[in-house]
């Protein structure tokens, strides 16, 4: 009985669960092959910090693909904005804390330019952003021409990509020695919040007499999610705790997840992606939505630029190279559909983690870069093939 319910619930959301399953398999395989090194706290912490900028870009790219466009310019835009913040700090004396709003605004402005080309002038996004790709690449080279790599000395700035949140209790205390207590507390709070919101949603649905998951299945789902969140925080807590990068990524994902699933704006974005003409006739301005999505993408590119520059503690002439392709790959692994109107923010985060896990795991195993590219390509193709097949079956 429970098994049947469970199977039904799984089948209805097969695409979502498969992605988690894929992630689990990748992690299990690498853990076995590296004798546990892959799942070590230290490696996972590093992995998350490396995933940061791709995850942030993938979130924006998902929205762009949902409204049937593409943005090729974001890689070098991120690189250019990273360099711009470096210059702002080293030459104009901008304080480290101001770089994030600075990068977000600069990115949004760049996104609005793209939006203008696409929505107002009707230029295909592929072409408009290819032009952007060239222009931002040129701008990046131009601003770093005299200096080459710009070293960033600002401690606050460099902590964004390398630092960890402070602990409230000293780590030498007798209680749980060697573990990061604040991280554990955050994990517990997350579990509590998640469970409470799920239970509330279920109750409210029952109040209207709607169909809900059977109680045992619901309990299993809750317990499973609690375990996953708990396990991740446990691993984080075993090293330096939660990194600032992880905090930023979580904030971005939570905000965008909320906007896309709960707000009028989010619903308009998916309607425009699903059928732009029907959306327009329903009183939604397709142009406005296009502007907003490209501006959001630009802002996230700015943030990604900050994350990357901070991670390297410098702005380099090659920053941003291929980022756009990584982000597109992560979005597609995460289940976005090129046909428009389909794709979830949580999916793109998992897609980014899957993608970076592959890279990290293969690096640990010293797999040659040539083979790495091939493996990544196969995983991308497999994810999309699976996507197309499951969609077809459900008709």
């Amino acid at each position: 009985m429970i098994l049947n319910d469970l199977r039904k619930a799984l089948r209805q959301n097969i695409r979502d669960y498969t992605m988690y399953f894929l992630l689990f398999v990748i992690m299990a395989v690498f853990t076995a092959m590296t004798r546990g090194l892959f799942m070590s706290s230290r490696n996972i912490a590093n992995l998350m910090n490396q995933t940061g900028y791709i995850a942030v870009l993938a979130v924006g790219m998902t929205l762009v693909i949902v409204i049937r466009h593409i943005d090729l310019s974001v890689g070098y835009l991120a690189g250019f904005i990273g360099a711009a913040t470096a210059i702002a700090m080293t030459r104009w004396g901008m304080p480290g804390w101001a770089t994030i709003p600075f990068a977000l605004l600069l990115g949004a402005a760049a996104g609005l330019v793209t939006g203008f080309l696409v929505a107002r002038l009707g230029i295909p996004a592929f072409v408009a952003t290819l032009a952007g790709w060239l222009i931002y690449r040129g701008l990046l080279l131009m601003v770093t021409m005299k200096t080459g790599t710009i070293i960033i000395p600002d401690a606050f700035f460099n902590a964004i990509g390398n630092g960890y949140i402070p602990d409230v209790f000293p780590s030498e205390s007798a209680f749980l020695p060697g573990l990061h207590k604040l991280t554990l507390l955050i994990g517990l709070a997350a579990i509590a919040l998640f469970s409470a919101s799920q239970i509330r949603a279920r109750k409210s649905k029952q109040g209207y007499g709607f169909e809900v998951l059977p109680l045992p299945v619901f309990a299993i789902k809750l317990a499973f999610m609690a375990f996953v969140i708990g396990y991740i925080t446990w691993i984080f807590a075993g090293y330096n705790g939660m990194s600032w990068t992880a905090v930023i990524v979580i904030v971005v994902v939570v905000v965008f997840h909320f906007v896309t699933t709960k707000t009028v704006l989010g619903r308009h974005v998916y309607a425009v992606g699903g059928n732009p003409e029907a959306a327009e006739l329903s009183g939604i301005s397709v142009k406005k939505i296009t502007f907003i999505v490209f501006a959001a993408m630009g802002s996230l590119a700015g943030l990604a630029g900050v994350l990357y520059a901070s991670r390297l503690q410098s702005a380099t002439t090659k920053a941003g190279e291929m980022f756009e392709m990584d982000a597109i790959t992560a979005a597609y692994i995460g289940g976005v559909s090129a046909g428009g109107g389909v794709g979830r923010i949580a999916g793109s985060l998992v897609g980014a983690i899957v993608y970076m896990s592959l890279t990290s795991g293969m690096n640990l195993l010293s797999v040659d870069i040539s083979l790495q590219y091939i493996v990544r390509g196969v995983v991308l193709a497999a994810a999309v093939i699976f996507d197309v097949q499951t969609r077809k079956r459900r008709g």
Binding site: Y208, T263, N275, E280
Partner: protein, 512 residues
């Protein structure tokens, strides 16, 4: 011996065909026989299984995907894909035409089986043969015209010519006249008769029973995936009441439901001297159009396809096509200047478009998302959608309009045409409009669903809403409207109170 003779009489016999989709039995034990050289019409409500049956025949669903036998000329055939059935001389022409709009007529005619000279395409021979094919289907056009520059009626003829170029023996037409005006319909039916004289057998799926009666030698009625009966027109077995009775399994006494209330006097929508120019094509699409709509009134807009009725509705509804427009619009005596559909909706207008799949619904989204799409603000607070309120709204409309769907979480793409149309109507009712414009509200939907739509329309006007109905089906316009405007070539050719409007009078104006 008797058996062998009847078998060779039949070009096609489908026996005991059953086909299931997950959760639905689309066809159960269907028998369908077509005699050589006849025009055989296949009728039934939406979801009766007509299209599924034709897909089984053409190999879209390969052998093994269904139960039962298909025999051509008495010989059992197993089609694995469409190419197999094409080779056997079967051609299907779907409602959505399979032509390449950017290519010329002659390129389309021989697309996929080009005439070759060595390894190159022999364009001269192609054009030469195209002219002959076009003559056969009476298509008057330059063979080098791009298909996108032809009207729908002529595009249909290109499809038929294309089938002929492949030596078709069994031509299947799925709702060929749904998008055609009366002249094009007549022309098409005439061509089917000529092809019959040449020995081509045709199967025609149609909702238009008058046409069926005009053209069919034999009619098979499907209902709920079963063969109900096969009627022989030459024995006088086919008539409209008989067909409707078999299709719906019940008698419909009144095709149009009665209305209890008269319209009011107050003018809700007034348009004066409305002109529109299509910038891209550089031509005037609407000329000096004026009309009025009163509270609680159904105003019909009749006219031929391409007369400008849809252009009129869209240009008034916030002008999404970007025409250059000129003229005065007043909603409840307040001058209006709609810059976008959003403005028009805000002022109390709603427009349910004529092509619900292309620009009416978001097919990949579910029923509730489509119902609330145009008025999400009503169920949101601070920009956050209240999903419980949304479900409640959608459930209410599902019940009120009797939308047949397993649940409101079902994707709209999986619903039948009539139920999709109800979802589209529900979406517009939820914006609580003063004036609801319905563009071809019953196109491609079955008799039962039509009656339900009419009933809903009557209820709405009795509650004080005003409805503008654009329709190419004259009986519908005359049966439902209080007043009728006839549009012809972008002008209002005449206004008739319904008592004076006869089919003849309207057609006279429409062709003026």
């Amino acid at each position: 011996m008797e058996n062998v003779r009847t078998m060779s009489d039949h070009i096609l016999e489908m026996r005991g065909i059953s086909k299931s989709f997950p959760g639905v039995k689309a066809l159960s034990d269907v028998t369908f026989s077509v005699r050589r050289g006849e025009i055989h019409c296949l009728v039934g409500e939406n979801g009766a299984g007509k299209s599924t049956l034709m897909k089984v025949l053409s190999g879209v669903y390969p052998h093994g995907d269904f139960q039962g036998d298909i025999a051509l000329d008495g010989e059992v055939r197993r089609f694995r894909h469409i190419a197999d059935s094409e080779k056997a001389g079967i051609a299907i022409i779907y409602q959505e035409l399979a032509l390449v709009p950017e290519m010329s007529v002659y390129e389309n005619l021989f697309l996929g089986h080009e005439i070759r000279k060595g390894s190159l395409v022999d364009w001269n021979a192609t054009i030469h043969q195209s002219v002959a094919l076009m003559k056969r289907v009476r298509l008057v056009a330059d063979p080098s015209t791009k298909v996108k520059d032809l009207g729908v009626g002529k595009q249909q003829l290109v499809e038929i010519a294309k089938a002929l170029s492949r030596n078709v023996r069994l031509l299947i037409l799925d709702e060929p006249t749904a998008a055609l005006n009366e002249d094009d319909c007549d022309n098409l039916l005439e061509i089917l008769r000529e092809l019959k004289a040449e020995g081509v057998t045709s199967i025609m799926i149609s909702h238009k029973l008058k046409e069926v009666i005009r053209i069919a030698d034999t009619v098979t009625v499907l209902r709920d995936g079963r063969t109900i009966c096969t009627l022989d027109a030459r024995k006088g077995e086919v008539s409209e009441p008989v067909l409707i009775k078999h299709m719906v399994g019940r008698e419909i006494d009144n095709v149009f439901p009665p209305r209890s209330k008269k319209p009011g006097d107050e003018v809700v929508l007034e348009v004066e001297g409305w002109n529109a120019w299509d910038r891209a094509l550089g031509r005037q699409v609407l000329k000096d159009v004026s009309f009025k709509v009163r509270r609680g009134e159904i105003v019909g807009f009749a006219g031929l396809m391409g007369s400008g009725r849809t252009e009129l509705a869209r240009s008034l509804f916030g002008n999404p096509d970007g025409y250059r427009v000129e003229g005065a619009v007043r909603v409840e005596s307040t001058a209006a200047d709609f810059r976008s559909p959003a403005d028009a909706i805000g002022a109390g207008m709603a427009y349910a478009s004529e092509d619900r799949k292309r620009n009416g619904l978001v097919l990949i989204q579910d029923v509730k998302q489509n119902v609330t799409l145009a008025n999400l603000r009503a169920i949101s607070k601070g920009g956050v959608v209240d999903s419980n309120a949304e479900v409640k709204v959608a459930e209410d409309y599902r019940k009120a309009l009797n939308i047949k769907t397993p649940s409101i979480d079902q994707k709209v793409v999986n619903l039948s045409g009539g139920n999709q149309q109800k979802v589209s109507v529900a979406k517009w009712l939820f914006v609580k409009p003063k004036v609801l414009v319905l563009d071809e509200p019953t196109r491609g939907i079955d008799v039962g669903a039509k009656y339900e739509i009419y009933t809903i329309m009557n209820k709405l006007v009795e509650e004080g809403m005003s409805i503008v109905m654009i329709s190419s089906e004259l009986p519908e316009v005359l049966g439902m409207s209080d007043r009728v405007y006839v549009v012809s070539a972008g002008r209002v050719a005449g206004e008739l109170p319904v008592a004076e409007a006869t089919q003849e009078r309207v057609m006279e104006l429409a062709t003026s």
